[in-house]
Structure formats: C-alpha cells, structure tokens
C-alpha cells in the first residue's frame, strides 16, 4: 500500500511541478546539450529556413535581395533546361550506383563469411579505398580513365578490347563515375559481414533438415535476415549519392555537353560562380525535397522487402 501511496505522491508532485522547473540532473543535461542546440539553430535550422526565404528572391550578393515570389521555381521548370538535365544525371547515377554497390558489397561479404583464413587482412585491403576520398582520388581516377594511356584501357587492350574515351564520351561518362564509386564499397562490406554473422545458425540447420540448397538458403534466410541492414545502407547511400560533387568537379566539370552535370555541381556554379544566391537556394530546396521524397518512397517500399524479426505478416 505504501508503494501505491508513494506513487500517488510522486505523480502529484510531478503534476505540480511547472514545466520550466528543472532538477539538478535535468539542468546539467540541458547544459551539456546546449552547444549542440545552439549549433543546430545557428548553423542548420536557421540557415535552412533562411534559404527558404532566399529562394523567393533575386539576389546577386552585391545588390540587396529583391522579392520575386515563386519566379525562381517557375524558371527552373520552364526556363532552364539544365535543371532537368542535372536531376536526370544525378538520378541515373544514384539509382545505378547505389544498388550495384550494395550487390557487390553483399557478394564480397558472403565470400568472406565462408570462414576464410586471413579474414582481417582481406577485410583491411577491401576497406582501404573507403578511407581515401576527394581530390586525390579524383586525380588518380583521371589517370586511370584516360582514353589514350589510362590503366583501364591499357588493361582492356590486353584482352583485345579498345576502350572508349571514358570521361569525354557522353555515353560512358556516367558509367565511369559509377565504376569509380564501386571501388570504395569497403565500408559496406564490413557492415554486411557483421549482419551475416548475426544470422542465427539454427535457421540454416533447420533449412538443411528440410533439404534446402545454398540458393534457397540465400534467398529465404540470408537475404530476409540482413534486409534491415540493406535498407539502411540503401537510404544512406542514396542521400550520399545525390550529393556527389568532388568527382565531377575535378574530373569533368560537368562535361562533355553537360552529360555529367550533377545537381551539386550546378548548384555550386549558380551560387558561387554566378552568385545567383536566390536561384541557388531554390535549387537546393528542390533537391532537398527530391531527396526526401525518394527517401520516403524507399521507406514506404520497405514494408514489402524488409523483414524485421518478431514481425507478424499476413500472407
């Protein structure tokens, strides 16, 4: 009985306590989180809202901004074919690169999961490219993909294939970037491997008793069991891929003929080369909404293909 009375007393004080009264622990907690909150408001949320306002103006940095309503958005849809091109390029790249990266990563992880010797060493080697990024990597790939003396075409010529001019040919330039992105699947491999090692062995044993082969086991057990991991990587990978910048900036400058004009590149150009801050803000918002819509679509679709343990399904 005493405990019940205590409970009532606690509830009563809790109800009486005004929302702004904080005990010592709570005060400390808010104090510790305060830097992040300030950073979030000043460097993220504030700028984000400001950019929504800016997207409704014409502003060339050196003259005061002028309110022009939705004209920037109208211009994007009807007056600027490069916007559509940039979104097309970015989308093609992302929907090719991300699934391929996942497939390749899972494949290597499956091989590594076959209790191979020297796992730590092999894993390190595969992870290596994921540690480097940016300008240096772009320079190396510029050399590898060179049509005349690049390593790729040299290798292809050994088996009698005359490779294309990867980066200066409109039909291969995006494929080049996809290829480059496949080089650094290492982080994915480690995540998938951890996922594979988490699949309980009983499931495979039970399936073997029922006479299931490797193929069936992969499709019916392995894949469903690691599908939450794949789902998460898919979402993060898409958000990342849609923001591709350093590669195209260094290697092609969007060329040839805008065939590798990624949205981020176009955004950078509008904002920091033409100083069209209003237009660039509108572009950023459209990209943001686009990423959000794609992410929501992936999350919606996940009900069909992602399996969570303990979930009840009506088939």
């Amino acid at each position: 009985m005493a405990t019940l009375q205590d409970q009532i007393a606690v509830n009563a004080t809790r109800r009486q306590r005004p929302w702004y009264y904080l005990n010592g622990e709570e005060r400390l907690a808010w104090l510790l989180v305060l830097p992040w909150i300030i950073g979030f408001l000043a460097f993220q949320l504030g700028p984000m809202l400001a950019s929504l306002g800016l997207s409704l103006t014409e502003w060339r940095m050196f003259t005061p901004p002028r309110f022009i309503g939705l004209s920037n958005y109208a211009e994007m849809i009807s007056g600027d074919p490069l916007v559509l091109q940039a979104f097309k390029v970015t989308t093609i790249f992302s929907v090719t690169s991300v699934p391929l990266r996942i497939a390749l990563g899972v494949l290597v992880a499956l091989l590594l999961n076959a209790r191979v010797r020297g796992l730590a060493f092999i894993r390190t080697v595969y992870y290596l490219p994921a540690t480097v990024s940016g300008v240096a990597v772009a320079m190396v790939w510029l050399l590898i993909l060179n049509g005349d003396f690049g390593l790729l075409n040299r290798t292809l010529s050994l088996i009698g294939i005359e490779g294309p001019y990867w980066l200066t040919d409109t039909s291969t330039v995006l494929a080049s970037f996809v290829l480059m992105s496949l080089w650094s699947v290492g982080a994915g491999i480690i995540i998938y491997l951890a996922g594979l090692q988490g699949v309980p062995n009983e499931l495979y044993e039970a399936a073997e008793v029922d006479g299931a082969g490797d193929w069936v086991k992969f499709w019916r057990i392995t894949l469903p069991m690691i599908s939450p991991v794949l789902f998460f990587q898919f979402v993060i990978g898409m958000i990342d891929a849609l923001q591709e910048f350093a590669g195209p900036f260094i290697m092609t400058q969007g060329g040839p003929g805008n065939a590798s004009l990624f949205v981020m590149l176009y955004l950078f150009r509008q904002g920091f080369e033409f100083f069209q801050m209003g237009y660039a803000s509108a572009l950023a918002w459209v990209l943001f909404v686009y990423i959000m819509v794609l992410t929501l679509l992936i999350i919606r679709s996940s009900a069909v293909w992602v399996y969570y343990e303990g979930e009840v399904r009506e088939d």
Binding site: P47, A136, I190
Partner: protein, 286 residues
Amino acid sequence: MAIRSISESQSRSRVVRLTFIYLVLAVGMVIVIMPFLWMVSTSLKTPASVFKIPTVWIPDPVVWANYPDSMTILPFWRYILNTAQITFLAVVGATFSGSLAAFAFARLRWRGRNFMFVLVLTTLMLPFQVIMIPQFILFRSLQWLDTYLPLVVPAFFGGSAFNIFLLRQYFMTISPELDDAAIIDGCNRFGVYWRIIIPLSKAALMTVVIFIVQNRWQSFLVPLIYLFDQKKYTLALGLRLFQDQYTTDWELMMAAATVSMLPVLLVFYFGQRYFIQGVVFTGVKG
C-alpha cells in the same frame, strides 16, 4: 564405406568451393589495390614513361626527385600544416562537445530527452547543400570569409550528429552501476562523465577521432567555398590548384596525391580496429 565416400566427396567439393572463393577474393583484392599501385608507380616515373605502351609498372629509372619537386612547385608543406591545424581543432571541438551531448543522452534522465535525440538523428539526413548557401551568407556577414572559423567553429557546437550517435551508443553499453557507485563515493554527475565514462570509452573516442581526421583531411567543398587566399589553402585545395595548373605533369600530380593520402592511410592502418568497430557499431558509414 559408403559413408566414407560421401564424406570424401563432400570434403572435395568443399575444397573446390574454398579454392573458388579464395580465387575470387584474390582477384577482387588485386583490382582494389591496383589504383594505389598505379598512383605510386606513376609518381616515380619520368614524364615520357607515363605515356609509354606497353605498360611499365616498375619505373626505370626510379625518379625519387618527383616527390621533392611536387612538394616545392606549390607550398605543399604550408597546405599540410594548414590542414593539420584545421583537423586538430575540429577533432578537439567535436569530440568534446559531442561526448558531452552523448553523455546527456546516454546517462541523464530529463524530460525532452527522446525528442532531442530524434532531432539529432534527423540532422544525419539533412543534406549539406540546403544549408550551404545561407551558411555562407551567415559567415560572410560575420566577416568570417577567408578564415578557418567557418571550418572549425561548428565543430565546437556538437559537430556531426554521427559522432554523438556513435558515442551515445557506446556509453549505453557501460554498466550504469558504475555511475551509482561513483555517486555514492561522492562523485557528482559531471565527475561520472569525466572519471568513469570517458576513461572507459577510449575505444569509441578513438573511432570518432579517426573518422573526423579522415573526413577533415580530405574535405573539399567547404574549404572551396570559404578560403580564397592561396596561403590559407588546405591540402585538398592545393591539389586542385596543382591539377589545374600542371594538367599534364602526371608524375608530379601522383606524387602529390600519394603524399596527401599517406596520413589517412597510416591513420587507418594503425587504427583499423577502431575504424571497423565504429563502422559495425553504427552501421552508418558507407
């Protein structure tokens, strides 16, 4: 007899299978390593042999001079120093402010905790481009352009949500009984953070440090927007300048690229345990 022959054929098929797996993995490793080898090999060549067909893998003569040359054409040592300075400040700021926030999320009970944590996680999804332009305008009005402040100050205000998330996940695995014991012994809440949680989380902090170093050392877009004076350039900007001006001097460019990658690769080599742990722990990187 029958049983033995089955197990023999099973073990043989297992050998065939393993051989196949090793073969595929080996080919994959060669492909993965090739660009690195090609970079180093090219960095030691004479200009003529860069273009030579058939392919030369081991340069003859080995031109070590490419390294000092590439480092002196542009003030690369200065770029390295600049980048190290920015990276150091970002590491200090982000690990300190990030671990404090993570401690509050993992260890303290307060109203609003769940809401705030979800908010932190949401910013993981926030693409940089949406805030890039207004942030630029903000820092411009603060007269921070062409200084390191835009690159460093945000790190002191929580840094990336990823770090907070990783540290919070790790702090959660430390037994709360330790906190209680420390408090009974007269430690206050902040003492728990400083004397219990931090010393026990060296591995997780190391992971965070390594990720920040890797990220900052190679970051390109942010310095590109904020730094104009070539004396203040970071390594990534210096490389870009180099590539712009000496487009055909591949051997020098590759020497510079090798030098710039070396610290990252070394950090990875010595800290790979933490790297892999961090990747597995959060499932976020990639």
